[in-house]
Subunit: 402 residues, 2 copies
């Protein structure tokens, strides 16, 4: 085995500057280390630093004033302490609850990744490290890759005549799809503004959640289709001919309603290329924030398409009457038609600190006033991925049950 080992040494040796931070007295730095009691220790080898902090959503939030916006809760900050070898460390004073957490280091005021942790998530243009506190039976256990059958995750290009684009989407097919001739129901799952077709699979842990819920018998085997909800985009940043462009918000073309009206392009592609149960009773649509807006409008514009509709922290009334496309017109009339056709589930979920909370209250008042049935789920916290993962674990088990 000698030369195989040398091979790796050679690869690493070409990058001594890149790897030396991971070495400390011959021992690799472990960070984050999840201790047996679920407290967590963070470590960084930085002998020249004056101050090292860790910031992340595992720390108690602090309230800050954002100009032109108001007060918001932001992740807290904790100080690391340096030892005689130049290794800084911080251990949480208490065990952490099971959850997928994100964090970064701040070294002399400069945010940086943890060089000992290769696991990261990108949210729009911000990358942070992640770690998972697991506990069997907890909700977070659904976010973990467990020893259960796994579905297939594919990045697929489809033609959207309605947007005049070739576009990329992410498709999850459930375990066993390849080895059966069965047809499956389809769940269309939409991201928020600034996201893309990678958001739900990465930040939302969709494949893990579905694998685990299906293995536990809590969700039906289903296909999950995650499209790109930005009607001007072909695909996620880095996956188009624009190259390694900086990710950002691009809501151009949004108010023309083309994304919603062209949604049958997606459904047609999926029904043609996958073994689907191609009827209303076996289709669901849900989305977060802007994706909730898309789910709301698409499902009422095509009232025969979806029997299951989920609005997660949805942007309900973002246009203030300025959306002139037909899909946005006659809001209450379209809603009436949709509910006259008795969708099996209309589901609304939001956090009690979400800045869209009051808009969702107003929308529920419309539903209540008209006697339109819906399920409502309220969680703590605000407009964050923690909540959207929770809503997915709540919503998916309700789908396609007879």
């Amino acid at each position: 085995m000698k030369k195989l080992l040398i091979s790796t040494v050679a690869i690493l040796a070409t990058l001594p500057v890149f790897s030396q931070q991971a070495l400390w007295g011959g021992t690799e730095i472990v960070s984050p280390e999840i201790n047996p009691d679920n407290s967590v220790t963070f470590r960084l080898f930085a002998p020249n630093a004056q101050a090292v902090q860790v910031t992340g959503d595992f720390l108690p939030t602090q309230t800050v004033e954002v100009p032109n916006f108001g007060e918001v809760d932001v992740p807290g900050v904790a100080d690391l302490v340096k030892d005689e070898k130049g290794v800084w460390s911080f251990t949480t004073p208490a065990p952490l609850a099971p959850e997928l957490y994100m964090y970064s280091f701040v070294v002399d005021g400069l945010r940086m990744m943890d060089p000992s942790n290769v696991y990261m998530n990108r949210d729009v243009a911000t990358v942070t490290n992640i770690f998972l506190i697991d506990e069997p039976g907890s909700r977070a256990h659904l976010y973990k890759v467990n020893d259960v059958p796994h579905g297939t995750v594919s990045r697929v290009w489809y033609d959207s005549p309605g947007l005049n684009l070739k576009r990329r989407m992410t498709i999850y097919t459930p375990p066993g799809y390849e080895d059966s001739n069965d047809s499956y129901p389809v769940f269309y799952l939409l991201h928020g503004a600034g996201g893309d077709e990678e958001a739900w699979i990465a930040l939302g842990r969709t494949a893990q959640i579905l694998d685990n819920l299906i293995a536990e018998g809590k969700a039906e085997p289903m296909i999950v289709v995650m499209t790109n909800g930005n009607p001007s985009q072909e695909a996620a940043p880095g996956e188009t001919s624009e190259g390694f462009k900086r990710p950002g918000m691009d809501v151009s073309r949004m108010n023309r309603g083309e994304f919603e009206t062209s949604f049958p392009d997606v459904v047609n592609y999926v029904d043609k290329h996958y073994r689907t149960k191609a009827d209303k009773a076996h289709r669901a649509i849900a989305g977060l924030s802007m994706g909730g807006f898309h789910s709301l409008h698409t499902s009422k514009f095509y009232p025969d398409l979806f029997d299951y509709v989920g609005l997660f922290s949805a942007a309900i009334f973002p246009f203030d009457g300025r959306g002139e496309a037909p899909v946005y017109q006659d809001f209450e009339g379209k809603l009436k038609t949709q509910f006259e056709k008795n969708p099996k589930l209309y589901y609304i979920a939001i956090g009690d600190k979400d800045f869209l909370y009051n808009d969702n209250v107003k929308f529920r008042q419309i539903l209540d006033a008209n006697g339109y049935p819906y399920e409502y789920f309220e969680s703590p916290d605000g407009h964050i991925w923690k909540n959207w993962r929770i809503y997915l674990t709540e919503f998916a088990p309700k789908l396609f049950k007879q």
Copy 2:
């Protein structure tokens, strides 16, 4: 649109510590900036830093002594200069040749990612930022996502009775696969020690290279199957029930030859689940370093399986007679049988500074002495991904031509 915009502000506002480094006098830092002449400017907002450097493979290499190993060439280092606003910058003194480059910042001795660049690659346990210098007609243009038809990339789990594991692989199907009934040839593409089933698709830019070569009519449409070559592993780090474990080398079970002898598990799965041309004339196998070793031994152990064999910077004789599994026995006898069956292409590629260069010379001497035909391609540089991408662009166009 007001509230959609607010929605993103809210997301970003929850992370002021995370995003403030990207802001500078109201303007976002752009880094790296590829200038019109293909020089590149790197920038970092770090008002408190004492010294900021950039290191990467775009800088002239420097030779260093690695203990117990010898001299190796490593990426050079350049100093950034601070302006009055706290923004450090460095511009390459000359245009860069078209290539996919990697780099990191070093701030007061601490390596860190560029917070303005979300594009990164992981090589074993080391993450670096990347950027691409493009020029139409250049080889690097093949590494870019261009406005051409794109294949599908899937992560698929298969059963390997030979390894007694459920395992993950990455499969590229060419543009048009979903909309035809055609059968396709299959190219099995293997990574090196420390890599996994993500290595070729991420570091090797396989999907981009195949999309572009096929669009240019230079390569036949083909399926590319990228397996995990570590026989003890189910899947890449983070994709198994071991959780977010630190990536590393795991060559346990390697010398039993199980990976090579169980390779028909992969071929059988692919032939059963994809529309393949399931014969020797339409199968290729190639790999880098350890994957070259696997390609060498698998192709001679199963001499009727592959008509095309590629050894990229291959580890040829790593066992020094210590590999006791049948697949490694009777090296020259098996090679004789393989060449008596006239493979259409036996291809060897290596860099002139590769630490495995001399082993490859010895292996070619055996081939020459026996009159076994092969193609040989020698490039500058050593045991690096730049070379493996080059070899893929050279090898793929030679496959499956009649």
